[in-house]
Every structure is written in C-alpha cells, then in structure tokens.
C-alpha cells in the first residue's frame, strides 16, 4: 500500500528566482511528513514536483526506489489534495469522486460526453466505480452528499469530498497542500484529528505542506522545516523544539517566538553581562559572538527572587511593557531594569501568576540548561551553559 519517497538534490528556478536549492528528503513508507515554512519558501513547489505537475530543473524523485521523473502525475500512484479543494463545480460529488477512476478505467472514447452512455462494457465498469465511490464516501461519512454539487457544500464537507477523490484509487502517497487553511479554527482542529485517524487507517505515506507549525507538529512523524528553498532541518517535532539545528528553526518553531539575544564571549570564554556570568560545558571561543535562545515558556515568574525553584540560575528584575491574556496563559513583554538588556517575551500559566499588568515590576528567572546557544553562523552549539567561575 504505502510507498517510500526519496528526493535527491531537487532544484528549481522560475526565471531568475531560485525556488528550490538541492532539496533532499527521505520519507519512509507510511510516514507522515510535513513541509513547514513561510509562504514562498518553495514547499508547494516541491509538492508539485513530487506530483509531477512541475518539472524539476535537476534532481530525482523516487517512489519505492524507482525514479518517477518521466511519469505523468496520474501514473505516479499519488493523490493530491489542494488548498482550495479544486472540486469540479459542474459535477456532483459522486462524479467528482469518480473522476480518477473514470479516467483510469475507461478508454478515451468510452468516457466522452454522450458516447459514454452507449459504449459497450461501460455498464459494468460504471457499477464497479460506483462501488468504490460508495465505500470511500462511507469511510468519510459523506454518502448523503453524493448527489449534491460542490457549491452546495460547506468548507468541511468540500474538504472531505476532496479527500475522498484523493482516496478513491488507493494511492500509496498522499500529497496535501495546506488542506486546512480555508477552514475556520474550530473545524480545522476537527479535520486535523480526522486526518490523523485517516493516516492510521490507510497506512499510506502522507506528505503535508503547511505554514502552521501546530498542524505540522501535531500531525507529523517528522517535519522538514524549509526556508528560501532549502530544508533547514528534517527531524521529529520534539527535536525541532528541543534541539533546533539553527537559529532560523528555533525562531520558526514555538509560540510565541523564542527570545534571542547576542552576547560577546570574553577573553576567558565566558559570557559576562552584569549580574550573570556563565560559561559553556565546552569552551566557547574567546571574543566570538554567540546568540542565546530562551523559550518564553521556560521563564519563571515570581514577586520575590528568593522564591524561585532551585534549578533557576539566573534572576532578573523586570518591568512589564505589554500584556496579552491567552486564557490559560499570560504572554507579556518585560524589560530588564538593567540597561542595555533586550526585552524578553514571557509565557506564564495563570496558575503561577494570578494577575499581571503593564507597569508591574517583578522577577523572572530561568535555568541555564534551558538556554540554547547558537554560534556566529547561526548553527546551534551542542553545549550547555553552567554558572561561570570568576577564575
């Protein structure tokens, strides 16, 4: 059923614009992989190259270790779901779902308008197609919609019909181009769960394009974070969050965005900024610049600096500049009292912090082991910070 998918050094340019640069990906059979990135990063183009809708300038696409570069989209045993569903508005839901089967099982003359009614053999083929359409529709609970036209359906229903049309020929790979982005927030979560169930049920390979990190992280086995036509990191959601390869990934994953600030390494390989002095578990090169990353949710809040948990190494007194209430959480922006310090974003549960308002003065603190360190080139350094010694 499911197939492996392997991309090797795929590149594509539209005119002067290089859209994809040497993209390589290896997807296991049955895996759910997301391509995550901002608009214009080339993720949709990559999906279309896999589908065969766009030709790559160079590189290779292999399905089950067989190159499919010479094959037309309908010969590749893939199905695609589009952002705007791309349902045929003049056809009933039934005919929409049946289209891939009609095109593959009936000959050219047998499927022409009018002719198809009289063509010998069509009757039994049509019955067979109807059977497939019915069972697919049942699986997605849209049997009641089969005689309607797409114009009469809601967004969620259209989405299911589009899925049914993709599923009906049992493809081994599903390509999905932002399939949830036209749904409202509530429906999006619901259909997201359904997609997850569907993946478990069909055991097919799913390749899912999105700019929404929540979708990518919740659905996928692995996520390829893309930017400017390159894969920045291809890893499990957990690793993307905990061990981002570079600053760009760290900034892209996580909400609100990770706090980043540049620091100078002193002559002794230490980071020294006012009240905190730290060094790495491995020496930092002297006089270089590093960027520290600290997730807003890893910052603790307290009225009293002596009441922090024992693992808190750094304590800073701050003033609150701006507050957002997210229901269970507060997100606020705080400026350290120490001059020249960058403002920090803090995310705190409203259980630990009953109330916060602009102008409040309070203490924030964090553990050094939660800090991510990136070198001058933006790559993460695989070291931890520990309190520095003055010697």
């Amino acid at each position: 059923m499911s197939a492996s998918l392997k991309l090797t050094n795929v590149s594509k340019a539209f005119g002067q614009t290089q859209v994809l640069r040497q993209v390589s990906l290896d997807i296991q059979p049955g895996e759910f992989v997301s391509l995550l990135g901002p608009s214009g990063c080339g993720k949709s183009t990559l999906l279309r190259i896999i589908a065969g809708l766009i030709h790559a300038d160079e590189g290779d696409v292999q399905l089950n270790a067989q190159s499919v570069m010479g094959l037309k989209p309908n010969q590749r045993n893939i199905a695609m779901v589009f952002q705007n569903y791309a349902l045929y508005p003049h056809m009933t839901v039934r005919d929409n779902i049946a289209t891939p089967l009609v095109m593959s099982r009936m000959g050219f003359w047998a499927r022409q308008p009018l002719l198809h009614r009289f063509w010998p053999g069509n009757h039994s083929i049509k019955q067979e197609i109807e059977k497939f359409v019915m069972s697919t529709a049942k699986g997605l609970q849209i049997e009641a919609l089969l005689d309607r036209k797409p114009g009469q359906l809601s967004g969620g229903q259209k989405q299911r019909v589009a899925l049914a049309r993709a599923m009906v020929r049992s493809p081994s790979v599903f390509l999905m181009d932002e399939p949830l982005s036209n749904l409202d927030a509530k429906l999006r979560v619901q259909v997201r769960d359904e997609l997850s169930d569907l993946h478990l049920r069909l055991k097919a390979t799913f390749l899912y394009v999105t700019h929404d990190q929540t979708e990518a992280l919740t659905l996928s086995d692995r996520v390829a974070v893309m930017d400017a036509g390159q894969v920045l990191q291809y890893d499990s959601p957990q690793n993307l969050y905990q061990k981002p390869d570079n600053l760009a990934v760290a900034r892209f994953i996580g909400n609100p965005q990770i706090n980043c600030w540049e620091m100078k390494v002193d002559g002794l390989g230490r980071l020294n900024q006012g009240q905190w002095l730290v060094q790495g578990t491995m020496p930092l090169s002297a006089h270089s610049t590093v960027t520290l990353g600290l997730r807003p949710e890893h910052i603790q809040v307290s009225d009293n600096p002596s009441l922090f948990a024992s693992d808190v190494d750094v304590r800073v007194k701050v003033r609150v500049m701006r507050v957002e209430n997210h229901g269970p959480d507060w997100v606020f922006w705080a400026e350290p009292d120490v001059s020249k310090s960058v403002p920090l974003t803090v995310r705190a549960s409203n259980r630990s912090l009953a109330k916060v308002a602009v102008g409040d003065s309070l203490w924030i603190g964090w553990a050094l082991q939660d800090c991510l360190i990136f070198g001058a080139n933006g790559q993460r350094l695989d070291i931890n910070l520990i309190p520095g010694s003055t010697t």
């Binding site: 989209p73 309908n74 705007n84 791309a86 003049h90 891939p100």
Partner: protein, 296 residues
C-alpha cells in the same frame, strides 16, 4: 415638538413610494411610455408629417405578413444570425484560448483583435468595400491568382449575407474574446492541476472537462449579447449595400419604411414584431442556459 415613537405601516409605505418615485418616473418616461406609444402607433396609418391619422386595427401586421421585403429581411436576419452566433461564440472562444496562453505577446494580440470593435464601422466599411471590389479588391485579386475567378461579393444576392456575416464576425470576435479572457482568468489554476493528477490529460479533455464547463456562465452572456447584436445588424447594410441585391435585414426594413417612406404606423408594427422576437429569444436563452450554467 413631539416625535412619534414608531412609524405606522401606511407612513412607511408612503416613504417607500416616495423613495421609489424618481426611479419609477424615469422608467415610465424612458421605457413604458415610448413602448406604449409604439404600440398605439402600430395600429394606425400615421405617416411622418401627416396631420391626421386613422385607426387601422391589425392591418399593419397583416401587411407585414404579406410583405415580400419584410419576409426577406426576416430570412436574411435569421441567416445572418445562424452564421454570426455560432461563429462569433466559437471563434472568439478559440481566439481567447490561444491569446490566453501567450505571456509576453498577450496584450499585443488583445489590441489586434479588439481594434475592429473600437474602429468606426462607416470608415471600415469603405475598407471592406475596397477589399471586396470585383476588379480592384485584394480578395478578388487573390482569387483570380489561384484561378477561382472573381465574385461580386457585395452585389451577388447569394453572397451578400454571408459576406455581411463575415464582417459582423470580424467586428464582434474581439469583444467576445475579451469577455472570454475574463472568464478564463476566473478559472482557478489548481483546477487544472487537480485534473492532471486525476488523469485528465491532453488538451481536448482538459477543455471538455474543465474549461468549457467552467466557462458556461461566460458563454451564456456571450451567446445572449451576440444574439442581440446580430438581431440588430444595420450599419453594415446601410454602409455597404443600402439594401440592394436583396440584402435587407429587419432593422433596415424598418428604417426604410419609417424614415425613407415615412410610413410610421407600419414601421411601428415592424418594430413591435422585432422587439417581440428579441424578447422571446433572450428569455429562452436566459432561462434555459442560465439554469445549466450556474452550479450552485
């Protein structure tokens, strides 16, 4: 001053009528009254400049039925429409499909095809007259060169309506093409991608599967407007033939009766028949085609 808390129903009705009055007034003055006077006129023998008129009942309509010129003008108009409507729709669709695929040269072709729409027909008629001239014209010169002899396109009754239709097509294709281009721009590109993944390959099936059905609302509009402008063909006849060699069309017949022979009563009757035909034709098209063309 005391204000009433709520307006009563009759007050609201008066306000509503007051607000509708200007539009209703214009509608009556500009459409209903002229139509009514046309109707009344068609039952009289009024002649332009006459000081008296006589009620003649349906005599004008009986006369029309037996008038060989009017019957011929009807037949000519129908033949003209039979050529111009399918030709004008299909040809402009074909041109639009070709132009739509151009990227850099697109605006060039748009201008070229749209030129006949913008140019004055009277001036263009002179050009056509010259082109079609049996002795001097380029077309006949070309025909002579390939040994087909010469044809008097404008004076031969067998040729005159097809030639007028051709000029009508030439004039109309650019306009319809622009409408079709707008329709083509409305088709979402992922529709074609979905079709390609579904196995709809090759130009013909892409056309029958996506382009033609999704252009249906555009086609309804193009058919109706083409039909009406074909019905109303007049200026080419006036400029090229003046109705000679049996080339009268309905509007030209009406023009002759009313403004050359001053038989206003009879012309009014013919106009009424003409309006009736247009009304029936466009209602049928709109009701029949519109139902099929909108997929909601």
């Amino acid at each position: 001053m005391k204000q009433p808390a709520t307006s009563t129903g009759s007050q609201l009705a008066w306000v509503g009528m007051g607000l509708a009055a200007p539009a209703a007034f214009l509608l009556v003055v500009l459409y209903a009254l002229p139509l009514l006077s046309l109707l009344l006129l068609s039952f009289t023998d009024y002649e332009l400049g006459a000081t008296a008129l006589r009620w003649v009942g349906v005599e004008n309509f009986q006369r029309a039925w037996n008038d060989p010129v009017f019957i011929r003008s009807l037949r000519n108009t129908l033949l003209y429409m039979a050529i111009v409507i399918p030709g004008g729709v299909l040809l402009s669709l074909w041109v639009a499909l070709l132009v739509h695929q151009r990227t850099r040269s697109r605006s060039f072709y748009e201008v070229i095809y749209f030129l006949p729409v913008t140019s004055t027909l009277i001036a263009m008629a002179t050009v056509w007259q010259f082109l079609l001239h049996p002795k001097l014209g380029f077309i006949n010169a070309a025909l002579r060169a390939v040994g087909l002899g010469e044809t008097a396109f404008i004076t031969d009754p067998a040729w005159v309506i097809p030639v007028l239709s051709f000029i009508g097509l030439w004039q109309m294709v650019g306009f319809n093409m622009i409408i079709y281009l707008a329709g083509l721009a409305q088709i979402p590109p992922d529709m074609y991608e979905a079709a390609e993944v579904d196995g709809v390959v090759g130009g013909w099936e892409r056309f029958t599967h996506i382009t033609w059905p999704l252009l249906a609302p555009t086609t309804v509009f193009v058919v109706v407007t083409t039909c009406i402008s074909a019905f109303k063909v007049f200026d080419t006849v006036l400029a090229l033939t003046q109705g000679k060699s049996q080339s009268e069309v309905i509007l030209y017949a009406i023009y002759l009766e009313g403004f050359q022979y001053f038989k206003m009563g009879y012309a009014a009757a013919l106009t009424l028949i003409f309006l009736g035909l247009i009304f029936v034709a466009s209602s049928i098209q709109l009701i029949k085609l519109d139902k099929k063309a909108h997929y909601a």
